[in-house]
């Protein structure tokens, strides 16, 4: 039997080739994910391992919610411990680097830190003394600073200080430093610049001959309760685990796409084997005639699939190695701060890749193999069965099952949208409903093919004459085959459409929110939370003819008691024409002694809260305020508690504005207004001017990038489903050799025959796309309902139509080779073939 199977494989290797590519791609993606994340993991372990080598014991502040630092006396105590060779305290805070444009760089201030022996200086030298500083490599390159130049850094009072840049350093795997950028100083300067009066970490080196474990115990008893004392290795392990978790998260996300790709590949494989078995009915029957049992026939088909699975999985592993390496190269090219190393196939990757590839292939071949066992031996004696045409096909069972699944899917989704409030639970419920519905579509697919091909083929059939009409007929002659072929494409198109709908709707919802929160043309704010725009800026802008309105918001953080619980909250006040729309109560004419509170704080109009004024750094006598109205905090740029400006000045002595909102006067040139605002902000490095369009642009960019990445990853599933279309077509072409020859004899030209197959592929592609777009639109809508309270549904029609058009086009592309083969065939040879 094995020999027969092998011979069969050799004979059909061309027909199995596209299937093989599908499996190879799927396994390759999964293996590539593992290769990528393994390499990152290895890099993380190596970096942390190296770091651990240089430190023996680490002292960390006590764990807790509030960030605390280790005081000087802890460092002094540690230094006195017997067996300690040296101990350095690590200082960390913020120190905003000022860029070449005179403004602080980035959306957040850069981190300021002390540089000790652990930090690797990659260029130049470590800073010594109050006039020297180093920058992390990435920030230096991004902001255009070179060693030897002067840089300006702001201290905690926003006062500028000049430093000579003595070198660059590598932040290693520290995500925080990588994200915000970092400026390094010596310990005393770091303390002065960051204003942090303690250490984020104390690194201890052991004297020669002292074991890390023993030293740890000694240090721990010296520091007493509170601070955490770990060996360097224990800390490394902890950091590796924490970072590894994020690598695993990436792996999980990527594997999800891998699963989608394998699911599509499984459909392609199933279809291929189903068609091959149908075409080899006589061969199977002959085997039965010469004495093969049903079990042997079954086994031979499964064995064939297993062999294909093994070979293609092995190829997939090789492809995965390449893909993982390529992904790493791309990430490195994009300067993503990832530790890297040599790419390698871990034994686990090999095992998972092989197992997934073989199981999916064999699993997909089980049903076709079962069909093969039903071939009666007498079928060998019949003449070659003519190209198959399925009967009506859909039995009652199929219709009922599909009906139940569709109803269940619709019900689940309806519950998620109407009963459950917006939130993650509802979103996951919608996803579940989507999957159930999809199963229903999968089952009912063969029934849908006929009407859908009429819709999708309406125009092609009218535009391309007889070949077009024949093509539309052909697209529905094997509804089951067509359904399986197109549903593979449907998966990708559904997910893509859903992503596009979500992105479009989130954009629309966000823009809507933005207009509420940012109901102005320009906003002035500071980079750092808690710092202020000096009053002079707002005063100077007052009365300018270019500006129509000016709203100044002041705010301060203080202790607020609300419903018996005290917490630190931001209290603010505004001056200028700003409408606050109250969700309950009245926001007009806010009187002294009353307060506006954000929804969700747990107070209603008429309720009270107690606020502790904070003037001159001294807590004052608590004041009780009556809540006049509540408002939607998401719909305004105001802090959650708002008091009248005169009262605010009584409670707090905040000199500057937290933000200034500006509307350009009607008819004034917005560019001139912007220049004016920038001029006013120029003396203050931390004050920045943003237009509402800037913010929208940033958000749009982030959304677009996300959509692009997801679309790219789904592209693999689409590619595999196109292989499926090409595969089905080429198998059908093979099956219809004589039919094609007959058509040629009756006067169909070669181009017409090619046209016929292209139109058939076009119709298949369009069917898949139409179903996908319908599902994607519906479930995109449902998902949006669960994400926002008052959702705006904004499907990007242009994008979705592009998907449909591209699917059709891709189908036509998939038909190029099969069509060429069909058109090249000799008429006489094909006709005499029996």
């Amino acid at each position: 039997m094995l020999r027969t199977t092998l011979a069969g494989l050799r004979a059909h290797r061309l027909r199995l080739m596209l299937t093989a590519v599908a499996i190879t791609l799927g396994v390759g993606f999964i293996a590539g994910t593992f290769v990528l994340t393994d390499t990152i993991q290895a890099g993380i372990s190596r970096s942390f391992g190296a770091a651990a080598d240089s430190i023996d014991v680490v002292v960390l502040p006590p764990p807790g919610d509030k960030p605390v630092v280790l005081p000087d006396r802890t460092l002094a105590k540690v230094r006195e411990v017997d067996g300690v060779a040296s101990a350095d305290g690590l200082i960390r805070g913020t120190a905003a680097l000022v860029g070449r444009d005179g403004k602080t760089v980035g959306d957040h201030p850069t981190r300021g830190m002390s540089i000790d022996s652990r930090v690797s200086i990659t260029k130049g030298a470590a800073p010594r003394g109050p006039g020297e500083a180093v920058l992390d490599e990435n920030t230096a390159r991004l902001r255009g600073f070179a060693v030897g130049q002067a840089i300006t850094v702001l201290d905690q009072m926003d006062a500028p200080h000049r430093f000579r840049l003595t070198g660059l350093f590598d932040v290693g795997v520290d995500q925080e430093l990588a994200y915000f950028g970092a400026v390094g100083f010596d310990a005393a300067t770091a303390r002065a610049m960051t204003g942090v009066k303690g250490y984020a970490e104390i690194d201890v080196k052991a004297a020669p001959g002292v074991a890390a474990d023993r030293l740890r115990a000694a240090v721990a008893s010296a520091t007493g309760a509170g601070p955490e004392v770990l060996t360097g290795k224990a800390l490394a392990d902890r950091l590796i685990a924490a970072n590894g978790a994020s690598a695993e998260f990436i792996a999980l996300g990527l594997l999800l796409f891998g699963v989608v790709a394998m699911l599509v590949a499984a459909l392609v494989i199933y279809n291929t084997f189903a068609i091959l078995v149908a075409q080899r009915t006589r061969e199977m029957a002959l085997l039965r005639c010469v004495g093969a049992t049903r079990r042997q026939v079954f086994g031979s088909v499964l064995l064939e699939s297993a062999l294909v699975g093994v070979v293609c999985s092995a190829l997939g592993l090789a492809a995965g190695l390449g893909m993982g390496g390529a992904a790493l190269a791309v990430l490195e090219g994009m300067d993503v701060p990832l530790p890297t190393g040599t790419v390698a196939l871990a034994p686990r990757t090999i095992a998972v890749g092989l197992a997934v590839g073989v199981l999916v292939t064999v699993g997909a071949a089980v049903l076709p193999a079962r069909t093969a066992t039903r071939v009666p031996p007498v079928a060998a004696l019949r003449t070659q069965p003519e190209a198959a045409v399925d009967g009506p096909g859909a039995g009652t069972v199929r219709r009922v099952a599909a009906g139940l699944l569709l109803a269940a899917g619709a019900a689940i989704t309806a519950v998620a949208v109407t009963v459950l409030g917006p939130g993650e639970v509802a979103l996951f419920t919608v996803m579940g409903g989507g999957m159930v519905t999809f199963l229903g579509v999968l089952v009912i697919g063969p029934v849908l093919v006929r009407p859908l091909s009429a819709v999708a083929g309406w125009l092609p059939a009218r535009m391309s004459g007889v070949p077009g009409r024949l093509a539309v007929d052909n697209s529905r002659r094997n509804p089951r085959r067509s359904a399986t072929t197109t549903i593979a494409l449907t998966i990708g198109v559904t997910l893509m459409t859903m992503m596009a709908v979500l992105t479009g709707s989130i954009r629309a919802n966000y823009n809507h929110k933005l207009e509420e929160q940012f109901p102005v043309d320009f906003m002035l704010s500071t980079q750092r939370e808690g710092s202020h725009i000096p009053s002079g800026v707002g005063d100077g802008l007052r009365g300018r003819p270019e500006l129509a309105s000016l709203v100044r918001v002041r705010q301060a953080e203080t202790a607020v008691t609300l419903g018996g619980r005290e917490a630190r909250r931001t209290v603010g006040a505004y001056e200028g024409p700003l409408e606050v729309s109250a969700s309950s109560g009245s926001a007009r004419g806010l009187a002294p002694g009353s307060v506006l509170a954000a929804e969700g704080l747990g107070v209603r109009p008429g309720g009270t809260l107690t606020l502790t004024p904070d003037k001159g750094g001294e807590p004052g006598e608590p004041v009780t305020l009556r809540v006049a109205a509540t408002f939607d905090a998401n719909a305004t740029p105001l802090p959650p508690l708002v008091v009248p400006p005169t009262e605010f000045a009584r409670y707090f002595d905040v000199a500057g504005d937290a933000q200034i909102m500006v509307d350009v006067a009607p008819g004034a040139d917005p560019d001139r207004a912007r220049k004016l605002l920038e001029e006013a902000a120029r003396p203050y490095p931390t004050v920045r001017v943003a237009a509402s369009t800037d913010i929208r642009g940033q958000f749009d960019e982030a959304l677009d990038t996300q959509l692009m990445v997801v679309t790219g990853l789904l592209g693999l599933a689409i590619l595999i489903s196109l292989l499926g279309i090409a595969n089905t077509l080429s198998l059908s072409v093979h099956e219809r050799t004589r039919e094609s020859a007959l058509l040629r004899a009756l006067g169909l030209t070669r181009p017409q025959l090619r046209l016929m197959l292209s139109v058939e592929a076009l119709v298949l592609g369009l069917i898949g796309a139409l179903v996908g777009v319908a599902l994607g639109m519906v479930f995109g809508w449902a998902a949006i309902q669960t994400m926002f309270a008052d959702p705006i549904y904004a499907p990007p029609v242009g994008q979705v139509l592009t998907f449909v058009a591209l699917s059709g086009l891709a189908g036509v592309l998939a038909a190029v080779l099969p069509a060429r083969r069909a058109a090249r065939a000799q008429i006489t040879a094909a006709l005499s073939e029996t």
């Binding site: 045409v389 007889v466 052909n474 002659r477 006067g747 169909l748 030209t749 006489t828 005499s832």
Partner: protein, 253 residues
Amino acid sequence: MSTTEARTTAAAAVTASGLTKVYGRSDAAVHALRGVDVSFDAGAFTAIMGPSGSGKSTLMHCLAGLDTVSSGSVRIGGTEITGLDDKRLTMLRRERIGFVFQSFNLLPTLTAEQNILLPLQIAGRQPDRTLLDRVVETVGLRDRLGHRPAELSGGQQQRVAVARALAARPQVIFADEPTGNLDSRSGAEVLSFLRTSVRELGQTIVMVTHDPVAASYADRVVFLRDGLLVRELAAPTPQTVLDTLVSLEGAPC
């Protein structure tokens, strides 16, 4: 009409002269046709006979422009078809030739009526409704027009194929073993229709067969052996055809 006259008459629908066909090269070369001169009269029913491997199917394929010739000439009507490119050959088949094959004559996705109209539609011609009615009536398919091939018997399918060939009114119909897959009664029916179409519609038909009874429906039978035209017979009966075949089997050429 005598055979001598037929060969010289200008009304020949198909003429072949010096036709050779060689498959393969040098040592492995197979000479399927070794120089055939033959002509088929317009409005006549001619059968091509010969033992297996005599080259009768090859001859028909070459005459119909389905296969290329190695040398010689084939004219259909006034048109020399050897040397025509694929597109011109396709147009020629579309406009001027009809086919009936032994098996697999119909497209499984189309109804009987759609199958009959297919060549006309491919050619973009309007069907002649009266002719169509007459053809459908003649082959007795009126109540089967809406059926698909799978719902028709073998004989019915072949009658649809004949109707399809007739409906386009081609200059010549080539039939390749049209009764090869049919029982004798269905075969007789199909052959009668072919003969009727010649008599009543003036259709030209060239039929390849190995069945003496089928050949006896023709006006004339030409015999092929080892790629050469060796004999012909006018007004054949099954017996005379059989006798000729037997004599051919025995006699060296």
